[in-house]
């Protein structure tokens, strides 16, 4: 196995171009498990930990640019105010050791339907930055996930950053696991209110072949809020609204039975999380807390 250690972005992109089958590795919390259990044996590993800009985050035209190599620990410590949903999701990832090593970029690279950051990225309307020697493109998260453990990045591209506009409203993330920490999600849900554009966004995890939004639920809820003048009044949600929203969220999922949980429980738990988390974001919004 060849182990490439580029020290600059340009070197890394050239390496990926020269070795399209190279497996990028950052924290190794996913790739090393795959290697150790012989689930994948790439001819080339492309170590991205020596590229300084991947491990940075900053402001970029009003949005946050989160380098693909920023650890979950840093997201929690440094970005909880600006990316609350993603920070909440990061807090549920693995153990402290895993959070020290693991990265949002790695989560995107693995593109597992159970990846913890995906629902929060979807709800926040994140854009994924993909780069190659030929240039840079930004893909909405909704277009990024293409199948079980597959994404829209091309063989010559690296996932280099995530761009997220700081929220204009509150966000929440919840995840079901059968123990109280360090657990792969049975189902997950994220919600973000975007009052600046009178929109709602959601993200569903572990309940479909890919992370996905509950688009009908979002549209329905935004319309209901609009119709009742609630974006302006910030008044109490009408009776039954959260429940109807929850039903639409569950309807957007297409889960399976597996060793971690049944499809029926996944649907049920999604609807409970949707109902509760809508209550939480609305309470925050109603009480004037932006997030």
């Amino acid at each position: 196995m060849e182990f490439l250690t580029p020290t600059s972005m340009q070197e890394a992109l050239e390496a990926k171009s020269a070795h399209p089958d190279a497996k990028p590795i950052l924290g190794g919390t996913d790739v090393m498990v795959e290697l150790n259990f012989d689930r994948c044996r790439p001819a080339t590993l492309l170590d991205l930990t020596r590229i300084p800009e991947l491990a940075e985050w900053g402001r970029d035209n009003g949005s946050i640019k989160l380098g693909a190599g920023v650890s979950y620990t840093r997201v929690i410590a440094e970005l909880a105010d600006q990316l609350p949903g993603l920070a909440m999701a990061s807090r549920t990832v693995g153990s402290p050791q895993i959070r020290n090593r693991g990265t949002v970029g790695g989560n995107l690279g693995a593109a597992s339907p159970a990846g913890d950051s995906h629902p929060a990225l979807l709800a926040a309307d994140a854009e994924i930055e993909l780069r190659s020697v030929n240039g840079l493109r930004r893909l909405p998260a909704t277009e990024f996930y293409t199948g079980v453990k597959r994404h829209a990045g091309r063989d010559d591209e690296l996932i280099t950053a995530v761009h997220i506009t700081p929220p204009s409203g509150p966000q929440q993330f919840c995840k079901i696991g059968t123990r109280n920490a360090m657990v792969i999600s049975v189902s997950a849900f994220s919600i973000a209110l975007h009052p600046d554009r009178s929109e709602v966004r959601t993200g569903i995890g572990s309940a479909a072949p890919t992370p996905r939004r509950a688009v009908d639920a979002e549209t329905w809820l935004a319309a209901a809020l609009e119709a009742n003048g609630l974006w302006e009044s910030r008044g109490a949600l009408p009776e039954g609204l959260a429940r109807e929203f929850a039903g639409l969220v569950a309807a957007a999922a297409s889960p399976i039975d597996d060793v971690r949980g049944t499809a029926a429980y996944r649907l049920h738990s999604l609807s409970v999380m949707a109902r509760r988390s809508l209550g939480w974001v609305w309470n925050d919004y109603a009480s004037g807390q932006e997030h």
């Binding site: 150790n36 259990f37 012989d38 909440m88 807090r91 549920t92 153990s95 929440q172 993330f173 919840c174 995840k175 079901i176 696991g177 059968t178 123990r179 109280n180 920490a181 360090m182 657990v183 792969i184 999600s185 049975v186 060793v259 971690r260 949980g261 049944t262 029926a264 429980y265 649907l267 049920h268 738990s269 409970v272 999380m273 509760r276 209550g279 939480w280």
Partner: protein, 790 residues
């Protein structure tokens, strides 16, 4: 985690030792472990850390099928791989190709047939572990896959039972293949006491199920086999009983014990999972074939296939009671799925059958306990050994009875509790403390944790930081359960331990060397051995000799028995050493002194004070004694009635669990897990509390999350990603009260500690969840969908 270890000398220690008279570092003190600093700093050498420069790596090819015929095995391509030194199959087993703890029914390497997924078929030795693994992939095995037998009741031709019928005992249904020559029944224990047709005012029935738990020890199976120049081998291995391993390895290798020497390597946890052989014979075969040291280390995936698990159980219970709550009769049928090979299934059935009604007086008893073969993974020993499974059933029955009669669950347990002098269902009279009533009383008296919380702290919520509730749907429940466990080996087993103790002067100071073969698996026996030597010989400096087979058997590190048994042996042999030292002392004094003892490094007379230092008395003399020590004999059970003096000692513990359940999502947060346990004598109070905490957590794991999920004989979750064990965030504060009612038959009055807390913690949690949800919840572990019913 806040823990409140408490001893109650005011009441409980009346029969115990005088605490003011504790030798520093001796019995009753809590000295540091000799391996403690090494372990917490990561310097301790575990069995997987061993290394020799010229060693090879062994690898095991395992069956992908739970049940299949082997038509052919072609090793030629594997053997031709560069770096490969040997490829072995069943044809290369030098001695008997069968081993086993109670029945030698398990092949060293499968021949003609495989009976479980993961059964070893061939071995490879290579100069790199990856080469060995890849070479094993090149072995071609031609299988004829068969439909596996995956249900214990079906395996022995039984239909789910209700009501009991003797006739179903007849034998195996012709439809089900016999997995072994004598059929699929490993043991049927019958317990018959009192009237078999008793009736009662109130009848409570229940069907309960317990999933397959894994020991989940952190140090995977591993060892190093080093060939000598004379056809023998030295095996360094993590195990629980060196001598029973030695016996089986010798049989498989066709070598006498002198040529198969075992030394205990650093053990990273055991919990019963190391009672059976793993890499032992395999490593030795490869070492003898190649003439080179062989290292074998299972990874976590392989480990799930490399050791036995806790028997899953199906339990049918019917209790009759008076309207007062007094139990009248019990009719019970239990099925323990032993999987492909017997391992310790007969003894597990013995425990489940004789202990399976819990610490309660029931005059009329009918119990049928069955252990079966199937094509599921082999099951054998795990902490609590048959008692864990049945406790889920008998405590659920007690709760159900209390609910039916509108009685308090604690009161109904106390009303029926065993006490000293009572007869257990095997007819044995309990002849030392059985403080079931008091254990429950003490738990009930402990303050309940607050339900108030000023600020939302997700870590205190069901679901934790996964942020699924801010209080919505959360209901609190409280539940109680009592553990009842036999200590040491039962049913007439010749259970003994051997100790060698040497006292000599080295560098001007007396030093004791204690040598036993009793395995230290993390529980702290090495500390206990030192403590006993300090107390008995008055010498501070005690060296624990490496554990090996150059001294006699220490028996198994299991059944809560080592402090009792090897502790008893060390004390016994210390007495012999002390007697010889005192003879020497009297010789050097030139007179007889009636009240001599060893204390603080000196020979002391109660009347005359210090007479001489031990080094003065000993000079160059080395005093060494070796002897075996036995607990009082037990007897087998009557095969028709199950009556007999089968058990040495009974241990009792009780738990009170307080849980918060998110009833909408089915998620559980254990708020507090309080325990009261009678330990007879707290030999090392800190270690006792550690055992109670660890056992409580392990029992909690079985109630809430730990299960090897099997479908069609195959394990679906052989990893710590999906086999979940409790984390620190799942583990609640554990207020602990330790009682010390001395057992007059046991050394220092002690009672085995390790297993009892594992038995009652899970059922107490299940009881608390039932209280919170109002649901029956008859299956452990309880899954969220059992609570949400989705």
């Amino acid at each position: 985690m806040t823990t409140t270890p408490q001893t109650r000398p005011d009441k409980a220690a009346v029969k115990g030792a005088d605490r003011t008279d504790v030798t520093p570092g001796g019995v009753g003190d809590s000295p540091s472990r000799p391996d403690g600093i090494l372990k917490v700093t990561g310097e301790f050498s575990y069995s997987s850390d061993m290394w020799l420069d010229d060693m090879l790596w062994g690898y095991t090819l395992r069956s992908p099928h739970p049940f299949a015929l082997i038509k052919s095995i072609d090793i030629s391509e594997a053997l031709a791989t560069a770096g490969v030194f040997a490829v072995l199959t069943s044809e290369d087993v030098p001695g008997e190709n069968f081993y086993g703890l109670e029945h030698a029914d398990q092949p060293v390497l499968a021949k003609d047939i495989v009976r479980y997924q993961g059964e070893p078929i061939a071995l490879v030795a290579a100069d790199h572990p990856e080469i060995a693994r890849r070479a094993a992939e090149k072995i071609t095995v031609e299988f004829v896959v068969l439909a596996p037998v995956v249900d214990a009741e079906v395996a022995i031709g039984h239909k789910p039972w209700n009501p009991p019928a003797e006739s179903v005992d007849a034998g195996v249904d012709g439809q089900v293949p016999h997995l072994h020559p004598n059929g699929n029944l490993v043991r049927h224990l019958k317990l018959r006491r009192g009237e078999q047709d008793a009736t009662a005012d109130v009848v409570i029935t229940g069907e309960y199920e317990v999933g397959m738990q894994d020991q989940a020890f952190l140090g995977p199976e591993s060892g190093l086999a080093v060939p000598d120049e004379e056809g023998g081998v030295d095996l360094y291995v993590a195990t629980q009983w060196l001598h029973v391993d030695q016996r089986q390895v010798c049989a498989a290798l066709g070598l006498p014990p002198e040529q198969v020497r075992l030394t205990l390597a650093g053990v990273g946890g055991a919990f019963g999972g190391r009672e059976d052989l793993s890499m032992h014979v395999h490593g030795c075969m490869l070492a003898l074939r190649t003439g080179k040291p062989i290292k074998m280390v299972y990874n976590r995936l392989e480990s799930f296939f490399g050791h036995v698990h806790r028997h899953p159980a199906k339990l049918y219970y019917e209790y009759g009671a008076e309207r007062s709550g007094k139990l009248v009769y019990a009719r019970v049928r239990m099925y323990l799925d032993g999987g492909a090979y017997a391992s310790s299934t007969p003894a597990v059935v013995g425990n489940a059958g004789t202990m399976g009604l819990g610490p309660y007086v029931i005059p009329h008893v009918t119990v049928d306990a069955y252990g079966t073969y199937s094509n599921n993974p082999p099951c054998g020993a795990m902490r609590g050994f048959g008692s864990v499974q049945t406790a889920f059933a008998y405590e659920a029955q007690m709760d159900k009875l209390a609910a039916e009669l509108g009685l308090d669950p604690v009161a109904i347990r106390q009303m029926n509790a065993l006490e000293e002098g009572a007869q257990v269902p095997t007819g044995q009279v309990i002849d030392s403390a059985a403080p079931v009533v008091e254990l429950l009383e003490r738990l009930k008296a402990m303050p309940l944790p607050s339900t108030e919380s000023d600020q939302l702290d997700l870590r205190r919520m069901p679901g934790g930081v996964s942020n699924t509730t801010h209080g919505e749907g959360v209901k609190r429940g409280v539940g109680y359960a009592v553990a009842y466990k036999n200590v040491a080996f039962s049913e007439g087993f010749d259970d003994y331990s051997t100790a060698r103790v040497r006292l000599e002067v080295s560098g001007g100071d007396p030093i004791v060397t204690v040598h036993t073969a009793a395995a230290e698996v993390g529980q702290g026996l090495v500390t206990i051995e030192q403590q006993i030597c300090r107390t008995e010989l008055g010498v501070d400096s005690v060296v624990v000799h490496p554990k090996d087979t150059s001294v006699g058997s220490g028996g198994s590190t299991s059944a809560s028995r080592q402090t009792y048994m090897t502790g008893g042996a060390v004390r016994h042999v210390c007495g012999k050493v002390r007697d010889r030292v005192l003879v020497l002392a009297e010789a050097s004094l030139g007179r007889t002194v009636s009240d001599l003892r060893l204390e603080n490094g000196s020979v002391v007379s109660r009347s005359e004070g210090v007479l001489a230092s031990i080094e003065q008395v000993l000079g160059d003399e080395v005093v060494e004694e070796t002897d075996e020590w036995r607990h009082r004999p037990t007897h087998g059970l009557d095969p028709e009635t199950g009556q007999g003096f089968a058990h040495v000692q009974f241990a009792f513990a009780a738990h009170r669990a307080v849980v918060d359940v998110d009833v909408e999502l089915g998620l559980v947060k254990v708020v507090e897990l309080a325990c009261a346990q009678d330990v007879g004598k707290a030999m090392n109070p800190q270690a006792v509390v550690g055992q109670i905490q660890g056992g409580s957590a392990q029992g909690m794991g079985l109630a809430l999350m730990e299960e090897i999920v099997i479908r069609d004989g195959k394990i679906l979750n052989p990893s710590f990603t999906d086999y979940l064990i409790p984390t620190i965030l799942d583990t609640p504060p554990m207020p602990i009260e330790v009682l010390e009612y001395a057992d007059p038959n046991a050394p220092y009055g002690l009672r085995g500690v390790g297993e009892a807390p594992t038995i009652s913690s899970g059922p107490a949690i299940m009881s608390a969840i039932r209280a919170a949800t109002g649901l029956d919840l008859t299956r452990a572990p309880v899954r969220p969908e059992h609570i949400t019913r989705t």
